[in-house]
């Protein structure tokens, strides 16, 4: 096995837009996926994640850059010569073939002997728990079952890489959680290099070894779920991964930052006088009753009880802060209009340089 699974170097893809002329769908993307690793491309619709995946599959050809799989340059290689398993959002099962024939398709077109086909297909259908459906037609199965067939079909011929394009978007919430655990378990078990595309941050965090957040055709940040949550590199990542209060500040010295007239002891190497943003996660903040007239207190603007947690919106000076705390089985709860003080550990605050856009 080669030391790299998938590598993208300076890959770009342009589209012709009827109004805007040529626009980049993907711009200068560099990515490396280690063998056996599951990398997720995460981003909102139109960020270029699906186009990137489709270029790895060979359904789209990049205008610039090189794509290699296990060390072999496949940039101009047709999809059927790349050794990929692809799982589509809409399952894309062959409607005229039975479940068995669907899963057997790849082996059949590759001319494998019948005995091997029967053995492999039976085995993989058992693996996804659908052995008893092999004679059914795709439309007789539920969405989740169809996607499991698609998964079986993609892995049965031992592809080099596995590619998922929003495979769970058409399923309901509960099934999504179940299916993503199944996909992750299967991927780990066969140790296959995988790229997974989704717009759902929770799904990405649950399933991935590593996540690449994409924004407007470029990779905004790459890293583990913890990296992205605790140390977002851009405002976009901070807002896309979890929720965030972004509060503007100004560097007063290397040891403190002024925020809304208050000096906070935050070490930074940014030049003195430059502006930056504080990333304060709602979960970091706790509330306590405040005394009216005290300058550092705020007022509760909104309260939303959500069971496991309660969301508050608090106005301090001219800054609105989103907070979130577990109220359900605690004595202290607050109502709209209550005067409160906010508390958070200064060490948890992440500083973000102001973006030049």
């Amino acid at each position: 096995m080669s030391s790299t699974g998938i590598r993208l170097e300076h890959v770009s893809k342009r589209f012709e837009h009827t109004a805007k002329g040529e626009v980049y769908a993907v711009r200068d993307v560099n990515l490396t996926v280690a063998p056996g690793e599951l990398l997720t491309l995460l981003g909102p619709s139109g960020c270029g994640k699906s186009t990137t995946l489709r270029m790895i599959a060979g359904f789209e050809e990049p205008d610039e850059g090189i794509i290699s799989i296990e060390g072999r340059d496949v940039t101009r290689v047709l999809p059927n010569k790349r050794g990929i398993g692809f799982v589509f959002q809409n399952y894309a099962l062959f409607p005229h073939l039975s479940i068995f024939e669907n899963v057997a398709y790849g082996l059949k077109v590759q001319g494998r002997p019948d005995a091997e086909i029967i053995r492999s297909v039976t085995e993989v259908l058992e693996l996804v728990g659908l052995a008893k459906y092999e004679r059914q037609q795709p439309h007789q199965l539920s969405g989740g079952e169809q996607q499991r067939v698609a998964l079986a079909r993609a892995v049965v011929f031992h592809p080099k890489v596995l590619l998922f394009d929003e495979p769970l978007s058409n399923l309901d919430a509960k099934l999504r959680v179940e299916m993503r655990e199944q996909i992750r378990a299967l991927q780990k078990r066969i140790g296959i290099t995988t790229v997974y595309v989704t717009h759902d941050q929770e799904e990405a965090m649950a399933i991935s070894d590593r996540i690449a957040v994409m924004d407007r055709g470029q990779v905004a940040q790459e890293g583990s779920a913890e990296d992205l949550y605790f140390r977002p590199a851009t405002e976009f990542v901070a807002r896309f991964i979890g929720r965030a209060n972004l509060v503007p500040g100004r560097v007063m010295s290397s040891g403190d930052v002024e925020v809304a007239g208050v000096r906070l002891a935050l070490p930074t190497d940014r030049p003195i006088g430059s502006t930056l943003q504080l990333v304060i996660r709602p979960e970091m903040i706790d509330l306590a009753p405040g005394r009216p007239g005290d300058p550092e207190t705020g007022r509760v603007l909104q309260r939303t009880f959500l069971g496991e947690k309660t969301d508050y919106e608090v106005l301090i000076g001219e800054t609105k802060l989103q907070t979130c705390r577990n109220d359900a089985f605690r004595a202290a709860s607050f109502d709209v209009g209550d005067i409160v003080t906010v508390h958070f550990d200064i060490h948890h605050v992440h500083l973000l340089a102001e973006e030049q856009s």
Partner: protein, 567 residues
């Protein structure tokens, strides 16, 4: 919308020589069999010794008979549009809201579809049998003498009965899409049944009415066979006038001009239907559709009335076909009702060449038309190449034009060297293929639009080459469209006459043309026997194709089966 950058697109087309060659061949064929005849027709009409002239047109318009035939055509078209839409609506509302048992619905559907698959004269012949001087109804039942079955009323009646199924097929899905809850909600607001019907149901169906009216108007305008039999001298219409100008007076120029006069309202109606009404036909229903229980929007009394009216019309159709069968088995209808096999003996001896020719032409035209339809449909729906949209339009032209125009165009274009095809079978086959395969094209495009591109990509990702993908995935999925295309070309080869009557010769003739000759010679028995033969042959082929479609496991087959009957 975005589309792939042009550089990549160019590279892909250039790297696919098969696509390039296929597109080129198709364009040569389309130029030869669609553009050339139409162009020649226009040149013939407006060019005199190399100069453009309006003189022939003015001459034609100056002739009072021609002028009358123009207005007669419009009047007939409007009448058939009105009557046919009303009748179609009657059947559609009964089918959707009448609460009929399933087997009665099947019966109504079967009866309604009968005229769509029959040779064009069946209703006309039956009307002559019923209302002629020795007619079953006029003479035997009512005791009237000297009744003429010819003229406006009989033509309008025959065309209405022949074409109202189009209105039914257009209106039924629209009415079915109107949520009964909507009507019930209007009820709950205190509207009376009539108010609800007038203010809710009818307005929602208005685009459907307009669409049905225009489709029927166009069908009547282009209809050649019915007026030829029934209109008579008192009620000339454009298609028959153009035909008589050419076959009676050998005046090609006059025929060409007359057929072009027909083109003006035909084109207007086609454009109106396609780009204005056609796009508004779908009722958008928001929210959850209520339980499809029987709507209370129509009172019990009205339901009974509607159902009775439907069965009356259905009975009339069945009676007409029964009369045809009866007439084919008696010595001389109305005069001598003794049973005889003689008419069938005649059509299988003297008439055998026509049957043989028709079956040979249909047999060759079927696979060609089916293949052509699937190929063009596939290219239009799935491939990107220069001139794709132009091809889509040009491929539809002969389908949209009245048959008379197509026939006269072919006659003018292929009468002389370098491309002298008249008199042969090839010209008739080409006429059918390019005139009736567009149904197959539409069916293929519709099927491919249902099949997501990802299915072909899935095949490719699993290691299948583009050839393997086409063979193992695309082809099985569009097979229903192929068989539908086969069926349409066969049905039309057996039943069409308007274009091909200009193209038959001593060596190659058609059953429909023989029926017409029999009618003019008053050999009504053989005409009836031929008609029965055609209906049976069409029925057998449709049953076979339906059986094939049912065996295909593709989920798209049922849609194709519908287009087979609807087209």
């Amino acid at each position: 919308m975005m589309r792939a950058a042009s550089a990549v697109k160019r590279r892909r087309v250039a790297s696919d020589p098969t696509l390039l060659v296929t597109v080129l061949i198709l364009w040569v064929l389309l130029a030869l069999f669609v553009l050339l005849p139409l162009g020649q027709l226009i040149l013939q009409a407006f060019l005199d010794e190399g100069r453009f002239t309006l003189a022939p047109l003015l001459e034609v318009l100056a002739d009072p008979t021609h002028r009358a035939s123009f207005f007669n055509s419009l009047f007939l078209g409007a009448s058939v549009g009105g009557f046919g839409t009303a009748l179609g609506f009657l059947f559609a509302i009964t089918a959707v809201r009448g609460g009929l048992a399933r087997h009665w619905l099947t019966f109504l559907d079967a009866v309604v579809l009968l005229p769509l698959v029959s040779p064009p004269f069946t209703t006309s012949i039956s009307i002559v049998f019923s209302f002629g001087p020795t007619g079953f109804i006029s003479h035997d039942l009512l005791g009237l003498a000297n009744v003429s079955p010819y003229g406006y009323w009989s033509t309008a009646l025959a065309e209405t009965l022949t074409y109202f199924p189009i209105a039914y097929l257009t209106l039924r899905p629209i009415l079915a899409a109107i949520d009964p809850n909507l009507e019930e909600m209007a009820f709950s607001l205190g509207g009376s049944r009539w108010q609800v019907f007038r203010t809710v149901t009818l307005p929602l169906a208005v685009p459907g009415f307009a669409n049905a009216f225009l489709l029927l108007f166009a069908a009547s305008l282009a209809d050649f066979a019915t007026p030829l039999i029934l209109a008579g001298n008192a009620f000339p219409v454009l298609p028959t006038q153009a035909y008589l100008q050419i076959t009676g007076m050998f005046d090609f120029k006059g025929g060409a001009v007359l057929s072009l006069v027909l083109l003006v309202p035909a084109a207007a109606v086609f454009l109106l239907q396609r780009y204005w009404v056609g796009r508004r036909t779908y009722v958008t229903v928001t929210g959850k559709i209520g339980q499809r229980s029987r709507s209370k929007a129509i009172s019990r009394f009205a339901t009974v009335l509607l159902t009775a009216a439907c069965f009356l019309v259905a009975t009339t159709i069945v009676y007409f076909y029964g009369l045809l069968v009866f007439a084919s088995f008696v010595v001389a209808f109305g005069a001598n009702d003794t049973f005889t096999w003689n008419h069938y003996r005649v059509i299988f001896s003297e008439g055998l060449p026509a049957i043989r020719d028709t079956l040979i032409i249909a047999g060759i035209g079927m696979p060609l038309g089916g293949f052509y339809g699937v190929l063009v449909g596939y290219l239009i729906a799935r491939r990107r190449f220069f001139s794709r949209q132009a091809m889509e339009i040009v491929a539809m032209i002969n389908y949209a034009l009245p048959g008379t125009i197509v026939g006269i165009g072919y006659l003018i274009a292929f009468n002389d060297p370098p491309i002298a095809l008249t008199g042969g079978a090839l010209i008739i086959i080409a006429c059918y293929v390019f005139r009736y395969s567009p149904t197959g094209i539409r069916a293929t495009v519709a099927l491919l639009q249902q099949i997501d591109r990802s299915i072909e990509e899935a095949s490719s990702s699993l290691g299948a080459s583009s050839g393997q993908t086409f063979h193992r995935v695309t082809l099985p999925l569009i097979a229903p469209a192929f068989f539908a295309g086969l069926g349409i070309v066969f049905i039309r080869s057996m039943t069409a006459i308007s274009a091909t009557i200009f193209l038959v010769s001593l060596s190659w003739t058609l059953i429909t043309v023989r029926i017409l000759e029999n009618m003019t010679e008053l050999a009504l028995g053989p005409a009836a026997a031929f008609s029965v033969f055609v209906v049976v042959a069409v029925f057998v082929v449709i049953s076979l194709l339906s059986a094939v479609l049912a065996r295909l496991r593709a989920p798209t087959a049922s849609a194709a089966a519908r287009s087979l009957l609807g087209g």
